[in-house]
């Protein structure tokens, strides 16, 4: 036996150490998870979790990876980057968590020249701005839709889309289904009766109601067509339609 080659005859198994180590690691992991179910310790969650994770990290590296008893050079090439990584996570990551890290609100101020609370209340983070991003607005103005409706003669495309996508809830003739979609042939609307409003409702749906958003399944042009068709149904007052829901608008 010579050189760098390993000699199995001089090797003593570490099996018992590994079994114990595995048991300890499993126990600590179970403790980490179990901790979450002990609300009384909530105040100490973060430090306890950090301590347990660091301990597990050290045990795996020290025992399973033998860094504890191996050559110094391995410790140097591994432990130094570990500390660099920790420093990076701490400085870049944790310090910048708003309301948590010391730099968190500072970062926000630097980025926006405003305090955290102001940022949440104003500008691109305001509820209105978020809603505008979430809810796609109709791409034409109210007036343009009114003109479009006045000029439209042919509702065939809209009728087809209606039959395929909407009739299941609003009925083929638009009279509405009990417990499902409202009547589209009366003069009543909960979410506005102009074509613009209809496009809006069809695009974004009604949150919390069966009326789903169609922005991902229909194209803008298709939504326009079906909205014009829906607008065209107003005032037809088909037989056995659902009764008025919402506000009455001027007929026709």
């Amino acid at each position: 036996m010579s050189g760098m080659n390993h000699d199995p005859s001089t090797y003593h198994s570490h099996k018992s150490v590994y079994v114990k180590t595995a048991a300890v690691l499993t126990a600590v992991t179970a403790a980490e998870i179990g901790l979450l179910f002990v609300p009384a310790l909530k105040f100490a969650f973060v430090p306890l979790l950090v301590i347990m994770a660091v301990y597990k990290f050290a045990v795996v590296v020290g025992t399973f990876m033998h860094l504890k008893s191996d050559k110094n050079v391995f410790r140097v090439v591994f432990v130094a980057p570990v500390f660099m990584a920790i420093a990076m996570i701490y400085v870049v990551g944790l310090l910048a968590v708003p309301h948590f890290g010391a730099l968190g609100d500072g970062y926000v101020r630097l980025a926006n020249d405003k305090s955290h609370d102001e940022r949440m209340g104003l500008g691109e983070y305001s509820p209105a701005a978020i809603a505008a991003r979430d809810n796609k607005l109709p791409h034409l103005t109210k007036e343009r839709y009114a003109k479009l409706f006045a000029a439209t003669q042919d509702f065939a495309a809209g009728e087809k889309l209606w039959g395929a996508n909407c009739a299941s809830c609003h009925r083929a003739d638009g009279g509405g289904q009990p417990g499902l979609g409202p009547n589209m042939t009366d003069d009543c609307y909960m979410h506005g009766g102009t074509v613009y409003d209809l496009v809006n409702t069809i695009t974004n749906g009604v949150k919390g109601k069966a009326m789903i958003a169609f922005k991902s399944s229909l194209s803008e042009a298709e939504i326009d067509q079906v909205a014009l068709y829906v607008r065209g149904m107003r005032g037809k007052n088909v037989a056995k339609g659902k009764k008025c829901e919402g506000d009455k608008v001027a007929a026709k």
């Binding site: 050189g3 690691l25 992991t29 973060v46 979790l49 050559k71 660099m84 691109e124 979430d134």
Partner: protein
């Protein structure tokens, strides 16, 4: 002196090349450091991996709570499922240690079996992650949804990719052990694969605690 130190000393004291009686080339030794090159290479690589995952984790925290839409971590994480896959990965670290231990003891067919068990645990972990991603996407969290979606998928995705690479590596080593190309004298090749495998496990220890558990501790 521990068995390990003795073994290390043995490796160091006879630093000359020669025939090991098995028809294999002498393992290349780093004459300056007096350690096997392959092990030094792995440890250096793992050091750089620390920086790699460190930057992904730092990025995750940097953007945490800054998403302006989409699902929040708490709304998608499932502690139960992630705990199971965590235990599986943890177990694979033990089986990996046993694979190295048996290889060093000269029990090569046992070592091969431990390697295969380890690879199986790793593949199971990846399976859990695929399910988790699939489930999250169904809930409505994609790579493009929000800062949380982007940083979460990139970070855990790279970890999953590392586990997958590890599984392939382990299978290759198992095959070489099986065919006798890695005899006990060259157990350092099993050990090197093991170092990588344990590293992938410790990355998950960090991610599981700081990304998953801390979310519920807040």
């Amino acid at each position: 002196m521990s068995a390990h130190a003795a073994e290390a000393a043995d490796l160091i004291d006879h630093g000359h090349a020669g025939d090991d009686g098995h028809g294999h080339d002498e393992l290349v030794e780093n004459n300056y450091m007096k350690v096997p090159n392959v092990k030094l290479a792995i440890w250096t690589f793992l050091g750089s991996e620390c920086m790699f995952f460190g930057s992904l984790i730092a990025t995750y925290f940097f953007y945490l709570d800054k998403s302006i839409g989409g699902l929040l971590p708490k709304e998608v994480f499932s502690i139960g499922i992630t705990s199971i896959s965590t235990f599986i990965l943890l177990t694979s670290s033990f089986t990996m240690a046993m694979a190295v231990d048996t290889a060093k003891s000269g029990l090569m067919s046992k070592s091969r079996n431990w390697l295969l068990i380890t690879a199986l645990c790793g593949a199971t972990f990846v399976g859990f992650q695929v399910y988790e991603f699939w489930h999250f996407v169904h809930l409505g969290l994609t790579l493009q949804t929000s800062l949380f979606g982007s940083t979460f998928y990139v970070m855990t995705g790279f970890h999953g990719a590392h586990v997958s690479v590890g599984v392939i590596w382990l299978l290759m080593v198992a095959k070489l052990v099986h065919s006798g190309k890695i005899p006990a004298e060259r157990a350092v090749f099993v050990e090197s694969a093991g170092l990588y495998w344990h590293f992938v496990d410790i990355v998950w220890i960090v991610i599981f605690t700081f990304v998953y558990l801390l979310e519920f501790a807040k």
